[in-house]
């Protein structure tokens, strides 16, 4: 198991807590919580070791495109980068829901 934490400056507030996905084979769980601080904090726990660089570039690119002030937790069970991106988008959609 490996842990990573990334933080980025952010400005846009989100509406509500969001949760998607399952910590199951090839999948992951994403939790997004609104934050009053002007930053995004992403905490990742993954069962697959040795993909730190892949995570970093994926998360950086995603939050460069999506400016949200939030606490993001990712619990990963071997999702591919494509699946990670889809889950993050899905979570944002839920979080933006009124």
């Amino acid at each position: 198991m490996e842990n990573f934490t990334f933080t980025f400056p952010a400005t846009n507030q989100i509406n509500r807590f969001a949760h998607v996905g399952v910590v199951g084979s090839g999948d992951l769980e994403v939790l997004i919580e609104p934050s009053s601080e002007l930053q995004t904090e992403v905490i990742i726990r993954t069962g697959i070791i040795g993909f730190g660089a892949t995570w970093e570039s994926l998360i950086q690119r995603f939050f460069a495109q999506h400016d949200i002030a939030a606490k993001v937790k990712i619990n990963d069970f071997g999702a591919t980068p494509g699946v990670v991106k889809l889950r993050l988008e899905q979570a944002l959609e839920v979080a933006a829901d009124e």
């Binding site: 399952v22 939790l31 919580e33």
Partner: protein, 563 residues
């Protein structure tokens, strides 16, 4: 022009979506959901990524306006395995539903199973939880029907198949499976000739939804359609028909077992015929050899020592029963022992098999009935059980249901006010311990190297969790619930006492007197206690000081969120 209405697959839904699909849309209120972040504290130290809800979704609400609570297990997280948090979520919810029922609000519990049973990474926490879940279901059934849905993909296995067997009604799809020992475990323990875990036809023919429904182990076979499943649940909730729980139908299952000749391998179709026949079959007693198996074990030794001069009243050699006395107190002793002539070869070494579990249930029920209007005798389970019986016939003929009957009998005795005490001089292992011992008000064990409490042999546990034996040993050092020795088990707080200075293998009169005293003390403790549930295990010093920290916290949080 008619339009085809698309059906929603229930099987393909996630655990949470399943709960949503059962409850009325606007009534859904999740308890201890992802936002509460109540994850298992035991996984991360073992290098396993936890999940925010620990794989169990609890949602309160209504089903067609009837109050209900849905407990749905997410099979994709750790195979739906029951750990300390997920187990406490299930048990705690059922305990709250029970309180609500006692106060007059008939909240009906619906369990959606998708689980391999105990989560092996949390081992004994799973067993303790499953005992508590079973205890709550037996108590709840006195007020409301408890409804089980087994949709697949996994089905329900291990201790959780016993849990399903305790439910009032079971709904299955064709793809679902219901069995005590999973195919891989039987293959590991009994060999590939006994069960080939790669043979899918064999698996579904033995424990699949259709077979289970036709042979009396499930009530309704349903299409994989979310709406149909909700309607079926609703009709079971509102059905006023008086029905008898499977666990009380020992005569019918006895009749079935009597029709079987285990020397020949039975086919799935033959069992269907036999089940139909068993409805009208008069039970003719099989002539069981009365030659006692001389391979003494601790169970035999202690049973003989504790019963003293009192007569035996058991009716099969592998389940010994006697009514004795401890001081002024009436006591029924029950022990499961080896019988090398056992009709079922997989149960010859002292395992709890089909005959054993049904026989335990019968003798406990007998005592309940006999004492209905008089002093409730104590029931003492003498526990030295290597495992449940692993075998093809065992699964085919519903060993999970037999175990459920034993669990139900002990739990019912406890609820009726019989002090139920377990005395553990030997091994207390997995399904066997759940069926014979775990429902006791109080547990007494000997501090001895030969006393082990665990879930599965190390070989099988390694195979199922895909770890090496060395990795398992290391993990056991971090999580006491994974260890096999009784001193680690003691730290979980479930024991009433761990007795020192007793000769476990060849006990004498002085050892007997020590144990008599302990049992007597345990009975008194039960009689002065006003609860008849298993709560003493969570109130012990060990439990409170950390042994069951998560189990206690989960229950507190559930209570806060319940209303």
């Amino acid at each position: 022009m008619s339009r085809t209405v698309l059906k929603t697959s229930f099987v393909e839904l996630s655990g949470r979506e399943r709960a949503h699909s059962i409850l009325d849309t606007h009534s859904y209120k999740e308890l201890l959901g992802p936002q509460d972040n109540m994850e298992s504290p035991h996984l991360e130290p073992q290098g396993i990524v936890p999940q925010s809800d620990d794989g169990v979704i609890v949602a309160k609400g209504t089903i067609n306006e009837h109050p209900a609570v849905v407990i749905s297990i997410e099979g994709n997280f750790q195979g739906g395995g029951i750990g300390e948090v997920s187990g406490a979520k299930i048990a705690g919810t059922l305990e709250l539903a029970l309180k609500e029922c006692e106060s007059g609000i008939k909240t009906i519990p619906v369990l959606v199973f998708d689980t391999g049973g105990v989560r092996l990474q949390e081992a004994n926490y799973g067993v303790l939880s499953i005992a508590e879940i079973g205890a709550a279901i037996v108590a709840l059934r006195r007020h409301v029907p408890v409804i089980a849905v087994i949709p697949g993909k996994i089905g329900t296995f291990g201790g959780m198949s016993i849990t399903a067997g305790l439910c009032s009604k079971i709904i299955m799809t064709r793809g679902a499976r219901l069995g005590l020992n999973g195919p891989e475990v039987i293959e590991q323990e009994a060999g590939i000739r006994e069960f080939d875990s790669k043979d899918k036809q064999l698996i579904w023919g033995t424990i699949g939804g259709e077979q289970r429904t036709v042979t009396g182990f499930a009530d309704v076979l349903i299409a994989d359609d979310a709406d149909a499943i909700k309607e079926e649940i609703f009709s079971m909730m509102t059905d006023d028909a008086v029905y008898s729980s499977r666990t009380l139908q020992g005569d019918r299952y006895d009749a079935l077992l009597n029709l079987v000749e285990p020397e020949e391998r039975l086919s799935a179709d033959e069992v269907r015929l036999l089940w139909a026949q068993s409805e009208n079959a008069a039970i003719e007693e099989k002539t069981t050899s009365l030659n006692r198996d001389n391979s003494a074990g601790r169970g035999q030794t202690w049973f003989d020592l504790l019963r003293g001069e009192f007569l035996e009243i058991g009716d099969i050699p592998s389940v010994r029963v006697a009514d004795g006395m401890i001081g002024e107190k009436k006591v029924r002793f029950i022990a499961v022992v080896p019988d090398n002539q056992n009709r079922f070869p997989r149960a010859r070494k002292g395992e709890v098999g089909l005959l054993e579990a049904w026989s335990i249930a019968k003798h406990v029920r007998e005592a309940i009935k006999a004492d209905q209007n008089s002093e409730k005798r104590a029931i003492v389970a003498i526990v030295d059980v290597p495992s449940q019986a692993y075998g093809y016939h065992e699964e085919l003929l519903g060993i999970h249901q037999a175990c459920a009957a034993a669990v139900d009998a002990y739990a019912s005795a406890r609820l009726e006010g019989h002090p139920v005490i377990s005395f553990i001089p030997g091994n207390a292992i997995s399904g066997a311990f759940l069926s014979h011992g775990m429902q006791a008000n109080r547990l007494i064990a000997l501090r001895d190297e030969g006393v082990n409490v665990h879930v599965m042999s190390k070989q099988s546990a390694a195979r199922i969790t895909q770890r090496t034996m060395e990795e398992l040993e290391i993990a056991a050092k971090k999580v006491p619930a994974m260890a096999y020795d009784v001193e680690s088990f003691e730290k979980l707080g479930a024991l009433f006492s761990l007795v020192d200075g007793v000769e476990a293998n060849s006990p004498e009169k002085k050892d007997r007197n020590i144990i008599y005293k302990e049992i007597d003390r345990a009975i008194d403790d039960v009689l002065t206690d006003h609860t008849r549930d298993l709560s003493s295990r969570l109130n012990s010093a060990y439990a409170k000081s950390g042994g069951r920290a998560a189990s206690i916290l989960v229950r507190e949080k559930l209570k806060e969120q319940w209303n």
